[in-house]
Symmetry: none
Subunit: 191 residues, 4 copies
Amino acid sequence: MPQRNLREQLVEGASRVLYEKGFHAASVNDIVAAAGVPKGSFYNHFESKEALALEVTRRYSASYDLEQLRSGDGAPLARLRAHFEAVIERNARQGVELGCLLGNFSTELAGHSQVICEHVAASFAHWSDAVAAALEQAQAAGELDHGIDAHALGSYLVDAYEGAVARAKVSGDRAPLDAFVTTTFDVLLAR
Amino acid sequence: MPQRNLREQLVEGASRVLYEKGFHAASVNDIVAAAGVPKGSFYNHFESKEALALEVTRRYSASYDLEQLRSGDGAPLARLRAHFEAVIERNARQGVELGCLLGNFSTELAGHSQVICEHVAASFAHWSDAVAAALEQAQAAGELDHGIDAHALGSYLVDAYEGAVARAKVSGDRAPLDAFVTTTFDVLLAR
Amino acid sequence: MPQRNLREQLVEGASRVLYEKGFHAASVNDIVAAAGVPKGSFYNHFESKEALALEVTRRYSASYDLEQLRSGDGAPLARLRAHFEAVIERNARQGVELGCLLGNFSTELAGHSQVICEHVAASFAHWSDAVAAALEQAQAAGELDHGIDAHALGSYLVDAYEGAVARAKVSGDRAPLDAFVTTTFDVLLAR
Amino acid sequence: MPQRNLREQLVEGASRVLYEKGFHAASVNDIVAAAGVPKGSFYNHFESKEALALEVTRRYSASYDLEQLRSGDGAPLARLRAHFEAVIERNARQGVELGCLLGNFSTELAGHSQVICEHVAASFAHWSDAVAAALEQAQAAGELDHGIDAHALGSYLVDAYEGAVARAKVSGDRAPLDAFVTTTFDVLLAR
DNA sequence: ACCTCCGGGACCTCCCGTTGGT
DNA sequence: ACCAACGGGAGGTCCCGGAGGT
């Protein structure tokens, strides 16, 4: 039987559809159609649409290469810039109007799904931590003032990035994303 | 009967409900129930849920006191800080898990409603412009380096604020909001 | 518009279908089809299938002519016998395999619907009370020993009737119903 | 592995679940979950949910100790009373809101399952016969008038018992059960 | 004998927007 | 302007049973 695991197909289909339309606007029908899976098979693999969305969120957040950011090679600040540029590149490739799944769910699902929100909040925290680690390395390398609270700044950069993604999403223009990099690295963190 | 215009009640009910549950999760029934208006009256006043949401968005964005930000009194940077603090205070009062209507719609409605997205994008732009104007005044007053692109920085701050709002929304914690102010004014723009 | 009230049609259709198939086996589709009402109209009139079933139960229990039983004319015991014979006649006319809606719901809905069960229990109590009242009149008229607890006996007769109905329902034979009358009045209450 | 035959587990799980929720409200999933048996194993042992329910009904009706009732020791009427008291005790121990499986299925399954209904009707008949036999013995022993049709009275008592069970089930109160015994033996059959 | 995975179809509920009469 | 009643169609979920491999 050459048929791939239905569960896997479901996750992939849902990744696209949930990303594109959002949680509430994407129906289970949309998802199974995109996945090429019969509707009746859905609940053999996931307890609910929410459970599937959680799995999709998990995969999405796991796709960020935080290891490379923490301990890749090159100067810390350059590495951090490369990290954001890569993330932006991926985002632009898929289409800026998709935004960031984490950001999308953070605004849509608060008050609707505890589990997903907890995962989203944790993902933001992990990402912020990794960014903060890079900033600390920059301080150690003398690229950044020691007086700065690296952890607070890490969160700040992630927030600014997410804000830029949202603005790019509504406007359909990737400019806010590029401006984020420029302002961050050429203005704020430059000396 | 002291009962105000039904249209007005509708807008107010919808403001609450759309803010709390999002566009797709809030049904027309929810809205008319919250507004205390008979269901059948809805379409006398609005062509669709989308049209009502647009009106709600208009009011929301009009509630930002940009005039005060542009030409209020006090030192520019202090004024800007007070502006964000006021916005945050209002947000915290209503409940951080509501987030910012503009931010909420920016992520939920891209690809679903052109009109609303255009209005949201324009609102962000106007707000960014006003912030930028304050920053330019800060430069004129010698509070900020002249080398900085005030316009880019204005957008950046708005983005960072929106990101912080989203994070506060998922985590149910206002800390990211306060951190935004501190990092912006005590770290990034401090000399 | 000659069209009868949809709510009324719904109640009538549901009366038939719920009676024939039971609560769980009767789908909302079955009901609207029997009522000749579009599916989408269902929830304009009833909050749920349960709410409709409650209304049906209300009408069913109201159809018992307890006033006639309590204060109709004729000797008390003859009146009581006539009451049961009338109830049985109606039941046999509709088809013994339908049983008694109260009895049907009492066994099917315990643990599924509090409201309905409460109504069913109350209906049995009212009916028992009316039967008991007739028995008391029989005592006053010297047709029945004074030593007997009329209230307990009233409940007993109702229980015996319901049991006979259930047996007639499974066996598809009205004999248990007729036997109930004979045994009650010609054996147990005869002197 | 001390694990008993899957078929046996299935029957036991189904006994509980069908008893508690009824035939239509109990899903095959509920049953296999209660039995601790994998879903796919179900149809190795039973052709359908109906076939399993029939088996459950068989066991249930076999659990009535009719032999003891027919030919146990003690005076016939006392034996009969003890019989009903034992049955009631068992019922109360399991919970009056479960009712009697025979009674439950008699009202729920008429028109849905011929086989089960036939079995239920036959079970009622056997039970009635055994009760009638005890009554005949009572007549022979001079405990009961000879003029009474023992067979008709046997059915009557079973009906009254089933009615009382149904009423106890809806009301959640065992009182009707105890009243059945009292009224039967202290009033109706007392001299 | 067992059981994982499968799936067509139906479940109850609710959606958004309309119709027609006051 | 108002609104009670309406309705086509979809929402997420779960049904009972079977296919196919171990």
